[in-house]
């Protein structure tokens, strides 16, 4: 349940596939143009409801309620061992005292 005043993310279809611009690649032509924006809920509701929000600039926008207090999901990803291999090679060539020294 979302209460009026909660920080939420909503979703909108801006253009249906048939309303999109000409000359798009085939894969893009098949899908709608979608929009996501965050703001304060102006009414109570539940996930999936159409609600109105007020963004931080004060704009009022309507859309499908997607998330409450949406978290940032990006991080440093999985460890990439190839990078450590590069690091070790670089240090060996630069400082390792190989046969060029």
């Amino acid at each position: 349940m979302v209460r009026k005043g909660d920080w939420v993310q909503i979703h909108q279809i801006v253009l249906k596939p048939e309303e999109r611009a000409a000359h798009l690649p085939e894969d893009t032509k098949k899908v709608p143009l979608e929009l996501w924006v965050k703001g304060f809920a102006l009414e109570d509701g539940k996930i999936g409801d159409e609600i109105e929000i007020q963004t931080v600039t004060g704009r009022k926008v309507k859309g499908e309620l997607l998330k409450v207090n949406p978290r940032y999901i990006h991080d440093f990803g999985d460890y990439v061992p190839e990078l450590t291999k590069i690091d070790m090679q670089l240090k060996e060539i630069a400082f390792g005292g190989g046969k060029d020294e």
């Binding site: 611009a21 924006v37 940032y72 190839e82 990078l83």
Partner: protein
């Protein structure tokens, strides 16, 4: 107010919306044909170098340090023939308030917006420019909306772009996120119309003039440090503003012998408007998907006349591979102790190869770095690539196929110089100009403009025009 908000109706109001949102009457500089008075536009619609320095210092932008990369230079020399290997320096633009050189562009745009009395600013960008506009807007007390192309149709986004969303929100901006497609421009126009905010376009005269301080400062600092001008300045090239602004600043510093070299990451074969290709690239800027179209037709931008005209200034244009840039980003970290974002290291990668064909007493300045962190770092970008089925391997970077694999050089000497043929770019620019204006005959004015805009000569432009069957009246 019951305005028609359909795609075609909003797009047809484009000129009217833009005029209100930028406050520049571009018709003052038009000739009625292909040509326009570029220098007059830069002079009258922009700001002088002194004014910009004052504006930027007011918000803590600029005066970033130049650092010598001694260990990377030594590494390049180990890969180079005896006596070769120029000294490599870097201008640490990550030291700007928003973590990249884009603060210079944004400082001017936001200052101008405030001066003209706008209540807020809007910029369409998924890159560092969003962070820069949001940061400057926060300082100026203006409202800010950043419009991002962010997700594919499954709501999966590049970690780098997700980080830009976070940082824009951290600076207090509203971020409007969109799925893939050029109709971002439609949403952008609707927002300008709805809010009456200023269009903080990347391509206005004041935006580009904001970068002039970078080139100017670079030369002045270098002279102070080494008592001479650098031989080459390496600039990551995407939309053209970085090249144009920096080169104009170098010229204003009187360093007319400096070779201006652009560099972009090779993303050939990936379609920039493709939902599927969107998450198959590991670089969201500084790549050929922007670099080549904007060089060969700058006026595709969101303003009637683009102030960024890179072909006017480029002496050389080098192409690097994704795997090479990640490799050099690691080198900057572990050999120099400077951890910076990969996209900003595009020109450093080109510099590493280019230094090896120059003499040891020559110098290269790489003119930018950018901030790094979660999302905007080799680790998340490479693990995201792996999740998207991109193969990651060691070998010869020339075998890298954008969207299929990322090839790390198996040794640093595999990082190579790949020249993009600038005369090809110039010819295609001239063709685009002729086709976009539908000309079969041009006047002397247009002819002279094409020579200047392509940094070319009469003979070359004439040969392209003859091939196109276009006469000069």
């Amino acid at each position: 107010m019951n305005r028609d908000m359909s795609y075609s109706a909003v797009m047809s109001r484009k000129n009217e919306i833009m005029k209100k949102a930028i406050g520049i009457d571009y018709s003052l500089f038009e000739s009625g044909g292909i040509s326009f008075d570029y220098e007059r536009m830069m002079r009258e619609a922009g700001y002088s170098l002194e004014e910009i320095q004052r504006i930027q210092s007011g918000t803590g932008v600029g005066n970033t340090p130049i650092l010598e990369l001694r260990n990377i230079t030594a590494l390049a020399r180990k890969c180079a023939p005896k006596g070769k290997g120029a000294r490599i320096f870097i201008k640490d633009e990550a030291a700007n308030p928003s973590g990249s050189f884009k603060a210079r562009r944004a400082a001017n745009a936001v200052y101008h917006a405030k001066k003209l009395g706008y209540k807020g600013v809007i910029a369409a960008t998924s890159g560092n420019y969003g962070a820069a506009v949001a940061s400057q807007a926060a300082m100026a007390g203006l409202k800010c909306i950043i419009v991002q192309e962010c997700y594919d149709s499954k709501m999966v986004g590049q970690p780098e772009i997700l980080e830009k969303q976070r940082v824009c929100e951290a600076y207090g901006a509203e971020v409007v996120q969109l799925s893939v497609g050029p109709e971002l421009f439609y949403t952008f126009l609707r927002l300008l119309e709805e809010t009456g905010y200023f269009n903080a376009s990347l391509y206005t005269p004041f935006g580009i003039a904001g970068v002039e301080t970078l080139g100017y400062e670079l030369v002045m600092q270098f002279r102070e440090k080494l008592g001479k001008d650098p031989d080459k300045v390496l600039i990551t090239h995407a939309g053209g503003g970085n090249v144009t602004g920096t080169a104009r600043g170098i010229i204003k510093a009187g360093a007319d012998k400096v070779e201006v070299v652009g560099a972009s990451v090779d993303l050939s074969g990936l379609h920039m408007a493709s939902d599927k290709d969107f998450n198959r690239k590991s670089f969201t800027t500084g790549h050929t998907g922007f670099g080549i179209p904007f060089a060969t037709w700058p006026d595709r931008a969101d303003v009637p006349r683009n102030a960024a005209r890179p072909l006017r200034y480029l002496d050389r244009y080098l192409i690097v591979k994704q795997g090479e840039v990640f490799f050099v980003t690691e080198a900057l970290s572990v050999l120099e102790g400077i951890e910076r974002g990969p996209a900003g290291n595009t020109s450093l990668t080109a510099a590493f190869a280019l230094a090896q064909e120059m003499d040891e007493d020559q110098t290269i300045v790489v003119q930018e770095t950018e901030y790094t962190g979660a999302g905007k770092h080799p680790m998340p970008q490479i693990s995201f690539a792996k999740q998207n089925g991109i193969e990651v391997l060691f070998g010869d970077p020339d075998e890298e196929i954008p969207g299929k694999n990322i090839v790390f050089p198996d040794e640093p000497s595999k990082i190579k110089i790949r020249d993009f043929d600038l005369s090809k770019a110039k010819a295609s620019y001239i063709k685009n100009a002729i086709n976009n204006y539908g000309k079969t005959e041009i006047n002397r004015n247009d002819f002279d403009f094409l020579i200047k805009d392509a940094k070319s000569d009469e003979e070359f432009v004439l040969s392209v025009l003859t091939e196109l069957g276009v006469k000069i009246s």
